[in-house]
Symmetry: D2
């Protein structure tokens, strides 16, 4: 087993910094060597705070550094494809945040490079590593609810990202609902056959300009006959509300809650607890565990779960979902 | 205020008996005088058990009895229209289980008769009287969640009714989801503009014969811009699972749970509580309160909530939902 | 089976009125005939509101009325003994609120009269009829937690009664904790061997004048080796907080919660639900079911559960608890 | 700020290994240099697994190693005093698991050494660092429940440790309830004035041999008038059940639950979730955070929370609790 996996990270924004911290301080098998960011100040500051040896604004430095084993890509989506391709060509293993790429054409290209260069790639669908979702999967496989026949997902952001982000986000199905598409596949254990979506702008009128919505529903049929509905919204002013349910032929599993601290305050106005405000809190452990899994796989020279193929399939669903919304038709997947 | 409202009940099946018991024993202002059932034995047995003075298999006896103030109709749906019309003509007030009638044509006829004869009519959408839904409405009106923008309903029967029932039930949208259509209107406080439905047979293949499904989703837009999704299914082997949520611009209300007794059993296998098995348990109070409201309105000569108009509107939505499912199109309401 | 049990009620204060309403409107086998109250206005008003035929301020009218089958006594405790004795002598069955009597001497006297006159007596330990406690008992008897070895009770009033009430209440052990003593016996299924109590005045200094406390703990050993702790307090500003737990050799049952309506409000300040404010709401069903049980027993000529003997035993425990608090010693029961 | 705190750990049993892992892999500012264990094989194995440079069975190697900054002591209690004294004399900072020492005499000795040698000492009352307890403290200080007046603690082990452990454990008050004594002081924010304890052997008869019990209750009064009750038991066959509640003059905080994964399984037998089985799972984060706090304090040259003084005070309470149990008297603290 390889001692330490030497890593570079691309991007130290909100989520990038979470990954960088995990690499630096919480994942035994990883060494955070280089931080790459487009702004010099960000790169330098993160390197100092996290004790990384190097920082740079030039990705090439990483690709030309033979001591780097793996890259963690947490940049804007449009940079995913070029970075993955260069990483693969440089024989570096790849962890890339979702979505794999911006387009299906790019997805096919990066898959080809990854496979030709024989490197490993894991896509950042962290929910699979959340202790609740992971335990749900284990219970389903254990037969606790019989055969899974229906998935019901709720994915609510506590507000809209800024207009500038929405403009290039690819829309709610590609940007937000894609997490649910992956987890639905994971929990149902099958592939999607058809997708039908609907949506509305309920709170953020500016979204109309970009053909985007802040409230959406996706209805999907699976090849094995199971089906699902998924609500994705930007309108939960009350917290980061991620829940799921898998109905089976002999029972159901409900996953997740909005409760943050494990305390309740009782007053004459009622009983209350605080809500999970944001994704870094909700998925603190999941972000750590997904990266730990990636590093451990590299140490053991094993293929990680949630590969570039999963990345591509979820992207296909998200593209179909977007098309269904635009055409008002059910879209079939092949 | 009128002392006692003298009532006759038509139908003492499962739900009919619940209503009859409430009239006989739990609603102060009501007197259960006559029980009408198609089978002599049922009528006689219920009359004996509940202390009703008369029983008959002939509805005319009720309509010709000048001492009867009101009728409670809990028969198969196809009898609703003729019974309502005769009751109205006989100047008897009417409580009728949902749906108001089988067809929209009938609905218009009965509305005309009710209004011409100046009697009151309440339709049995009991969820409005369930303490949880009623409190949710009060909280919404109190402004606790801002403006309601989304309703999410779950209505899961713990299994399918027998094939014979399904055959004449009118389908899942008319028979089951209609409760949710009424409660969505009630909680959002507005009327539906468009309906789109999807569904599948997941568990009960015989439903295919009747063009019915055991798992359905309804997506509706309201005139004020709000929208909703409603899951109705026959597949919750784990209990009678009725829940709702109203998302507002400043918060959300989650309504209902599956827990039956207010106890938890903790063992080495985990912590557990029992689930609500069936509608008479879930809506025990609601069934009592809706009838108490009806009787109280009659005593005070006031119009009850949930009138024949509400009955007709929910029926229109259910008919549109069925049409959307059959045509795969979004159906507009006028 | 006797058709209707004709009842008189003594006392129409807060709890008395609840019982009177149940007799008048919700218990099929009962007829509320006479209302007795010390103040003419109260008696007359309650009779009018509840449709009772007679009202009086003179208890003798009830005892001399041969048409009365049963009396329901909800007066101040010091009147329990004389009313029970007169009722028994007049061959009327008796439902009496807890505690059975003020003193153990009185308890013995009333038991003698009840037994000599061959009437039935039920004491108002309504918790046994609460659906949660009743189901817990059923589960224990079913063996779901093995052998019960520990009971943990919490009984918190949402504030102190007025000073005038405290002055004659007999103290927190006799007035409040006695409910828990009965339910501990019921759930453990055994009799108490020793009692040790401690307490403090935490919020209401006036209690010091009467040797009473607003926060108390009772620790009891049972004859079969089981033990228990019981907190009784007047300090739960946040609601009427009644909970219990029975730990067994193979599991535990937790009973009750503070939640009132089955809804949750989610806002940016957290998730909240309302608390049960008071005993009439917490034990709405229990009050109805205990009286229904009493009436049904009379109709069938059967001995009710929770008899005068239970009343006396719980009183013995409460007296021992009070003595333990005063002497700072463990008190043995025989 | 000091770069890395070089640590040695004494003891790699169940809890010791948890601490060692945290030092090795999850606490950025720490470097695990040396592992000391009484058995050569344990020391060597842990060093190999965790990547520690050195291992030894001889504590002197650590005390004589000038590169070691701090020691983490997780040995049997009777070794605490000699190890702390040697560590202090060698100018090493000290993290020691609870209880500080076996006797109050030893506690005074180690406090003197710690203070004379000007080193820092933190005692392992990890509950203070559990996110739920920490948030509860923050809420109390924020005034969310007014003035705290009552603490109610439940601390239930999922079974008894082996007889050999019980024999030298010091008894349930010193070994188990001491965690609650510390947390009660922490949450009430005041010192204990008097202690009264009671207890029984309910499940493990062998405890009688050692004058120990498996079920205990502690009732304490604080100097500021607040009071508390604490149940400590070895009888929760259903999981590791640690909960607390702080009642204040304006509300209450309930802390903790038994739920492990954030999922619920719904079947026809009811709804269920799994329970927390053991302390390493319940306090996973707390163990990490307490050590991270210790290391961070050393880096910043600041005094940690939960010092040797807290260790001594909790020990005084536990000794008084044991005496109260033996003498059946209330014991005053000075």
């Amino acid at each position: 087993m390889k001692e330490k996996i030497r890593c570079a990270i691309f991007g130290v924004g909100r989520l990038g910094y979470v990954h960088a911290e995990n690499l630096a301080a919480r994942i035994k098998g990883a060494e955070l060597v280089t931080i790459v960011a487009s702004r010099k100040e960000s790169a330098e500051k993160a390197a100092r705070e996290l004790g990384a040896k190097k920082w740079t604004t030039n990705p090439q430095e990483v690709f030309e550094d033979p001591t780097i084993d793996a890259v963690v890509i947490v940049t804007p989506t449009k940079l995913h494809a070029p970075l993955i391709i260069q990483a693969a060509k440089s024989k570096k293993h790849i962890f890339v945040d979702k979505p794999l790429t911006e387009t299906l054409g790019e997805a096919e290209m990066v898959i080809r490079e990854i496979q030709e260069n024989n490197v490993y790639c894991q896509v950042g669908f962290m929910r699979r590593f959340d202790p609740a979702y992971a335990e749900a999967k284990r219970r389903i496989e254990n037969g606790d609810i019989g055969q899974p026949i229906y998935f019901k997902g709720v994915s609510r952001d506590p507000g809209s990202p800024p207009e500038a982000y929405i403009q290039t986000s690819g829309g709610i199905f590609l940007d937000l609902a894609i997490h649910e598409y992956d987890i639905a596949r994971f929990l149902i254990g099958d592939e999607v056959k058809s997708v039908k979506t609907l949506g509305n702008v309920l709170v953020h009128p500016f979204m109309n300009k970009y053909g985007d919505v802040d409230q959406s529903i996706t209805f999907m049929n699976f090849q094995n006959g199971a089906s699902c509905d998924i609500e994705a919204s930007r309108n939960s002013t009350f917290g980061y509300d991620i829940r799921g349910e898998v109905v089976g032929t002999e029972g159901s599993i409900q996953i997740g809650s909005l409760q943050h601290h494990d305390i309740k305050i009782l007053t004459s106005r009622g009983s209350a607890y605080d809500n999970i405000p944001s994704f870094p809190i909700k998925f603190k452990d999941a972000f750590q565990y997904e990266l730990a899994h990636f590093i451990e796989c590299l140490q053991k020279d094993e293929r990680p779960q949630v590969t570039e193929i999963d990345g591509k399939i979820s992207l296909e669903i998200a593209v179909a979902a977007t098309k269904s919304f635009q055409t008002k038709e059910t879209v079939m997947l092949n």
